[in-house]
């Protein structure tokens, strides 16, 4: 990771941390902000990937996965934006679902990383904690306020992990 990528990751981590704290302190009032930011982030990623595919990766071996990822991110982004008008209970279910999805991705990535002798322990830990957060959210789904608090703790955890990752030393394979 270059110094600029570290700064980028740190900035995202700090914004997530602040949002997590705001969600914990102000509960429901923070919903629209989170939904809008989440939707924007997903849409921007989608547009960026699609732009990259059509301008650069169209002829690349394996480039089609970038197209699919771009379409998926854009789709999720638009869907998330549409949740502004639905009852908060459903928003919570949706956010819990995305957290579960993220946990599964982390665990699968950790499994893949272990197979190729790359760093996997931190990713496994991250996936396991996210999964635990999802389970607790599901158990207390009837208590909306409690779920918001649990979710905000999970959000803060994700932010901290991002900051830790940005500060970790990474190694590259040198070529000569």
């Amino acid at each position: 990771m270059t110094i600029w990528q570290r700064i980028n990751q740190l900035a995202i981590g700090i914004v997530m941390l602040l949002l997590g704290v705001l969600l914990f302190l102000y509960d429901a009032d923070t919903y629209p902000v989170i939904i809008v930011l989440y939707s924007l982030a997903l849409q921007l990623t989608g547009y960026r990937l699609l732009w990259y595919y059509f301008t650069m990766a169209r002829h690349m071996v394996g480039g089609r996965s970038i197209l699919f990822r771009g379409a998926l991110f854009l789709d999720f982004g638009l869907f998330t934006g549409s949740l502004l008008t639905v009852p908060q209970f459903y928003v919570l279910i949706y956010l819990t679902g995305t957290l579960a999805f993220s946990a599964i991705v982390d665990l699968l990535r950790a499994r893949e990383a272990r197979g190729i002798q790359a760093s996997w322990k931190l990713k496994t830990f991250q996936g396991a904690v996210k999964l635990l957060t999802v389970l607790i959210c599901l158990i207390y789904l009837h208590s909306e306020a409690l779920v918001v608090d649990i979710f905000s703790v999970g959000f803060v955890f994700s932010a901290l992990m991002r900051i830790v990752n940005a500060c970790r030393r990474t190694r590259v394979i040198t070529i000569s």
């Binding site: 600029w4 990528q5 301008t55 071996v61 394996g62 590259v172 040198t174 000569s176």
Partner: protein, 370 residues
């Protein structure tokens, strides 16, 4: 390529081309120094930072990948390790950004190779050494570009080593990659270390042959894979053949630099000169191990009857540090820095002239912005 080829094999090539032991040592020392002359090292020596011919792992990790940073990386790696084969390569597909990257793909026998060898003509053996590093790498690093680019340098898991069979064909065996930088390559298990997939176009992990690990650096291996730019067509990389060509072309180029050939033509080799040693060279190249230094060293010592000292990066530093400002240019390192700057300037100019923006701003725009 590694020390075995850039240092010991280059020494052998210089001896076969007619250089004496001392000159051959200068040539191979300069050729190997190209892999060590980073900005960090230049600071300790007191050399010009622009003369950097490589970037250390730490430097790469901290390197900026904005436009000026990418230009700096491209100038270093394209000039010394991934000399572009054809800066005007015709390609019907892709945007201008894509074509800029595609045209930096390294390969042997390009026009830039002739320019590189001609640039070293009538100069010191040190300049010849740098040219030999660049020449040898055009064979090893074929199909990769000296700029961070996912769409050019990425590879997938489709890697198969080719083993000759009795019926004249080849048997395929899958090659696996580990992404643990502390692990060692294991040729017996066909397990090699490569960089992790990074989806960012400009990630340092996508520079050169990082994704294919050190496979291009090993002379014994033949393999097929799918380069990102290849339109799903398998590419066969026959390192034993390529390394033999590289060695033979080095001998020919060094003969030209000594004045024994009237001109340097691409795709020409010193086949007759190496003929008596062809089997020995083939054996060294084909032997299955990650470092062939010992065999090349023994071969070189048989050729010259002299002992080849181990490469020592610090050997000439004191001489450069203590030289008067006016006589620094006459020291080994002074000559090395001068030749490196000339090479980098020549390649950068050619890239700029071709209209490729990865080498920097075109001269007209530079004047306007200054």
């Amino acid at each position: 390529m590694q020390e075995d080829f850039h240092y010991y094999a280059t020494y052998c090539a210089a001896i076969l081309a007619g250089y004496d032991h001392a000159e051959s040592l200068l040539i191979c020392h300069a050729a190997q120094l190209v892999d060590h002359c980073s900005r960090t090292w230049l600071k300790t020596v007191g050399g010009p930072s622009d003369a950097a011919t490589t970037q250390l792992q730490l430097e790469l990790m901290e390197a900026r990948t904005d436009r000026p940073g990418l230009i700096d990386i491209t100038r270093i790696w394209s000039s010394f390790h991934f000399l572009p084969r054809d800066l005007y390569a015709e390609i019907a597909r892709g945007t201008r950004n894509y074509k800029d990257r595609y045209r930096l793909i390294c390969g042997p026998n390009g026009k830039l190779l002739a320019d590189t060898v001609n640039l070293a003509r009538d100069r010191s053996p040190v300049a010849a050494g740098i040219a030999m590093h660049v020449l040898a790498d055009t064979w090893a690093h074929t199909y990769f570009a000296g700029t961070p680019s996912l769409v050019i340098n990425n590879t997938n898991s489709h890697f198969y080593e080719l083993f000759p069979t009795e019926d004249g064909g080849f048997e395929r065996k899958h090659i696996s990659f580990s992404h643990n930088p502390t692990a060692a390559d294991d040729p017996e298990k066909r397990l090699y270390v490569g960089s992790v997939y990074q989806s960012s176009e400009y990630s340092i992990m996508n520079l050169g042959h990082g994704r294919a690990g050190h496979l291009p650096d090993y002379s014994y291996i033949r393999y097929v894979y799918l380069p990102a730019w290849g339109g799903y067509r398998e590419i066969v990389k026959d390192n034993p053949s390529d390394y033999l060509h590289a060695f033979s072309q080095m001998v020919y180029a060094l003969r030209f630099l000594r004045g024994e050939e009237a001109e340097f033509s691409t795709d020409t080799y010193a086949t007759a000169t190496i003929a008596p040693h062809r089997e020995t060279i083939r054996e060294i190249i084909a032997k299955r191990r990650v470092d062939a230094s010992a065999d090349w060293k023994a071969f070189g010592e048989r050729l010259s009857g002299e002992t080849i000292p181990a490469f020592d990066r610090e050997k000439d530093c004191e001489e450069y540090r203590h030289a008067d400002p006016g006589s620094k240019k006459d020291t080994f390192l002074g000559q090395f820095f001068d030749a490196a700057l000339r090479q980098k300037s020549m390649v950068t100019t050619r890239i700029l002239e071709s209209g490729n923006r990865l080498g920097g701003l075109p001269p007209r725009k530079r004047r306007m912005s200054s």
